[in-house]
């Protein structure tokens, strides 16, 4: 998507979770991506989905960079005519979920280890085949990160994550 911001020497450099409500129209995504790219922010994950109203889409973006640049990015996003609102939800008490698929190397001699591990880690087993086992996991990103670390010891052949989706707790509407 965009080029990485590079220098991590800046202490305010961190991952941010941004939530947007946008018009459901062609071209909106590129306008948003341009705001990030021009300011050197790397987009780590991006989820676009329909909202309850077909006129609008919801976007959840995880991106890394410094605080001051993010402030400018949010202001520029809110300035776009097609953006209804954009806000940084990093560190808030909000429900966040992500789904990951892991393809683990599992020959016959190690299969039972892998299946046991899947059970212990509360993963769904999606497919078991001759040389590989595919596991599915949902949860917050931290849970997926730690599963990733554990599975690495077993040899991950392939991994994909959907990116984060957010929803405010209780009656509050996510903005």
């Amino acid at each position: 998507m965009s080029t990485a911001a590079g220098s991590n020497g800046n202490s305010s450099y961190r991952k941010h979770t941004i939530s947007l409500m946008v018009n459901n129209k062609p071209g909106v995504l590129i306008r948003i991506a341009l705001v990030f790219a021009r300011r050197g922010y790397n987009i780590d994950s991006l989820v676009v989905s329909p909202s309850k109203d077909p006129n609008f889409s919801v976007m959840n973006i995880v991106a890394s960079g410094d605080e001051k640049t993010l402030d400018q990015i949010l202001k520029q996003l809110n300035k776009l005519v097609d953006v209804i609102h954009a806000s940084d939800r990093t560190g808030e008490d909000i429900i966040q979920r992500e789904l990951a698929l892991f393809k683990l190397h599992s020959e016959a001699d190690r299969r039972s280890d892998v299946l046991q591990l899947a059970h212990a880690m509360d993963c769904d087993i999606v497919e078991v085949s001759e040389h590989a086992t595919i596991l599915q996991m949902t949860g917050d990103s931290e849970r997926l990160d730690s599963a990733h670390k554990v599975f690495e010891q077993y040899g991950i052949e392939e991994m994909i994550r959907t990116g984060k989706v957010l929803m405010a707790r209780g009656q509050e509407i996510t903005t």
Partner: protein, 576 residues
């Protein structure tokens, strides 16, 4: 309801918006819209290049505050407008650019004269549309005009495929606009205004910084009341000229890179600076860390994205500049600034703008003479470079909309077509284009447009046969290693004018300046080009090198003893 061609509906809405002129250039994909113009009272001004059309619309918009309208064809016709759209976007100029486009079924197939113009435009517009459904034409056209001129104005581009323009629709001219994400701030938050008033009341060395936002919102009266009531001196940005009268005793003129020394000294020493519609651009701020570190900083702006973008503020007020300043006027007290004003007057006397009289003809001399003869009543447009800075320094005006220049984008080739737009807007007024020999040649093809419409524009070519501002940098910071700045091969501009059937005048000697400027100003039978052969190696001062602090201002040319060379200066850290 009777059906109409969508192209006719486009032209209907342009007319309903009160638009008098469309600046344009045709091509295959735009023929349906050009066809609809034949029966419309909206006048089409055919230009010689699409860039000329956009700058004309821009000049018209800046001279009136109303949106300028452009009509071009697809592909190269549309891409030729991009520089002009950037120019309008950077300076918040209301504009609607309508582009013909290939048919919808050919989009994305690299068909003839197809370009993804709305895509190309994204980074340089306020908003853009590609109309896929002809029924959306009336809503989108009205949204475009609304967006272009409300809030922070800017250019809106509409891409109209040929089959969409040719479709029959039942137009709804009063339907609802669909802009749920578009917010226009108006009045400032009363608590922010109260805070700013307290800060202003407490200041002893306050300064008002007036920018383009004040011009756009029509804040001239409110700003004058504020300055006079509180006895605060005023500096203005390049684009803020004319909002607060530049001949007012409280005006210190333009600040920043080539601002007056006394304006910049006031910036350096103030204890409070309040921006009214100026975005603390790098030409003004220089080195961010050392910009007024001890002064209280207040910012009034209609665009919240400008707050704390460069310099950190102590108080921000989101709203329309005129309304916010009016609210402030109701609660601020008369200030005690006598000592501060005395100091400012001292600087003004001690460090006036000056240039070397005698010797070869100086651009400053010619501009000073134009000022003496027009007294700020003419509409002045400029190009970009040395002549632009000298014009900003010497051509003072007390009226908004009378100073038209490409500030943010710094677009060469802007000045002359912008003057054409301004003259269409004000046919009876004196319109003067101050241009350099470099920039003028970028859009000089529009001499045809000026002559066929018999526009009595005065085109003053400040001709030093150099790209003077770049040469100045190379001389000051790059050991005078001149690279790519010699304009050898310039035409004889008087003969060029004559080839177009235009009156040409040449000024070479200081003694002729008064008489020939007068002759040019009195000539009203169409355009008049004045080729001013000036000193080749004159530099613009004062100068704060790019990215430097106000302490590093160079007030005048360093004096060099015969046989010695000028001391070499550090290369600036900032760009250009």
């Amino acid at each position: 309801m009777t059906k109409k061609f969508a192209a006719e509906v486009i032209v209907d809405i342009i007319q309903q918006q009160g638009v008098e002129y469309i600046f344009g250039y045709p091509g295959g994909a735009a023929i349906p819209i050009f066809d609809a113009l034949v029966d419309s009272p909206v006048k089409l001004i055919l230009t010689r290049h699409e860039q000329g059309a956009v700058h004309m619309a821009d000049g018209f918009a800046r001279a009136t505050g109303k949106p300028g309208v452009v009509l071009v064809t697809s592909g190269p016709g549309a891409t030729n407008t991009i520089t002009g759209i950037l120019t309008a976007q950077m300076d918040s100029v209301p504009m609607v650019v309508i582009c013909g486009q290939q048919t919808t079924w050919n989009l994305g197939l690299d068909a003839f004269q197809e370009a993804d113009v709305s895509g190309i435009s994204f980074p340089v517009v306020k908003h853009s549309y590609l109309i896929k459904n002809a029924q959306d034409v009336p809503r989108i056209m009205r949204e475009a005009f609304h967006l272009s001129q409300t809030g922070r104005p800017g250019p809106v581009l509409i891409d109209v495929p040929k089959d969409v323009a040719s479709a029959m629709i039942e137009p709804d001219y009063d339907g609802e606009l669909h802009l749920p994400g578009y917010k226009v701030p108006t009045d400032g938050d009363p608590s922010d205004i109260e805070q700013a008033a307290q800060m202003l009341n407490a200041a002893r060395r306050p300064l008002l910084l007036v920018g383009h936002g004040a011009v756009i919102s029509g804040a001239e009266k409110a700003v004058t009341i504020l300055a006079e009531k509180m006895q605060i001196p005023v500096v203005n940005t390049l684009l803020g000229k004319g909002c607060f009268p530049e001949t007012h005793p409280l005006s210190l003129g333009m600040l920043g890179m080539h601002g007056t020394a006394y304006a910049n000294m006031a910036v350096k020493d103030c204890d409070l600076i309040m921006s009214i519609g100026s975005r603390w651009d790098d030409r003004i701020v220089g080195k961010i860390d050392s910009f007024c570190p001890d002064a209280v900083k207040i910012h009034i702006d209609i665009d919240p994205a400008e707050f704390n973008k460069t310099v950190q503020m102590d108080c921000t007020i989101l709203g329309d500049a005129r309304r916010v300043v009016e609210s402030l006027n109701a609660i601020v007290k008369r200030g005690d600034t006598k000592e501060w004003l005395k100091q400012a007057e001292k600087w003004r006397r001690q460090y006036p703008l000056k240039y070397k009289k005698g010797g070869k003809l100086k651009a400053e001399h010619v501009l000073e003479e134009i000022q003496n003869q027009t007294m700020g009543r003419a509409f002045v447009t400029t190009d970009v470079g040395q002549h632009q800075m000298w014009a900003a320094q010497y051509l003072l005006t007390d009226h908004r909309f009378h100073w038209i220049t490409s500030g943010g984008a710094g677009t060469m080739g802007f000045g002359f077509p912008a003057a054409i737009g301004a003259q269409f807007a004000h046919p009876e007024a004196t319109v003067i284009a101050i241009v350099g020999d470099g920039g003028f040649q970028m859009t000089q093809a529009e001499l045809s447009t000026a002559v066929i419409n018999r526009l009595p524009i005065k085109i003053v070519v400040i001709n030093n046969k150099y790209l003077g501002m770049v040469r100045q940098w190379q001389a000051l910071f790059y050991d005078n290693r001149l690279s790519g700045v010699d304009m050898e091969g310039n035409p004889n501009f008087v003969k060029l004018a004559e080839a177009y059937g235009i009156k040409g005048i040449r000024i070479k000697r200081s003694a002729d300046v008064k008489r020939l400027i007068q002759a040019a100003l009195e000539y009203n039978d169409g355009p008049c080009l004045i080729d001013v052969e000036v000193e080749k190696e004159d530099n613009v001062y004062p100068m704060i090198p790019s990215g430097a602090s106000y302490e590093q201002m160079i007030i005048e040319a360093p004096k060099v003893k015969p046989g010695m060379t000028a001391p070499k200066l550090e290369k600036p850290v900032g760009s250009t």
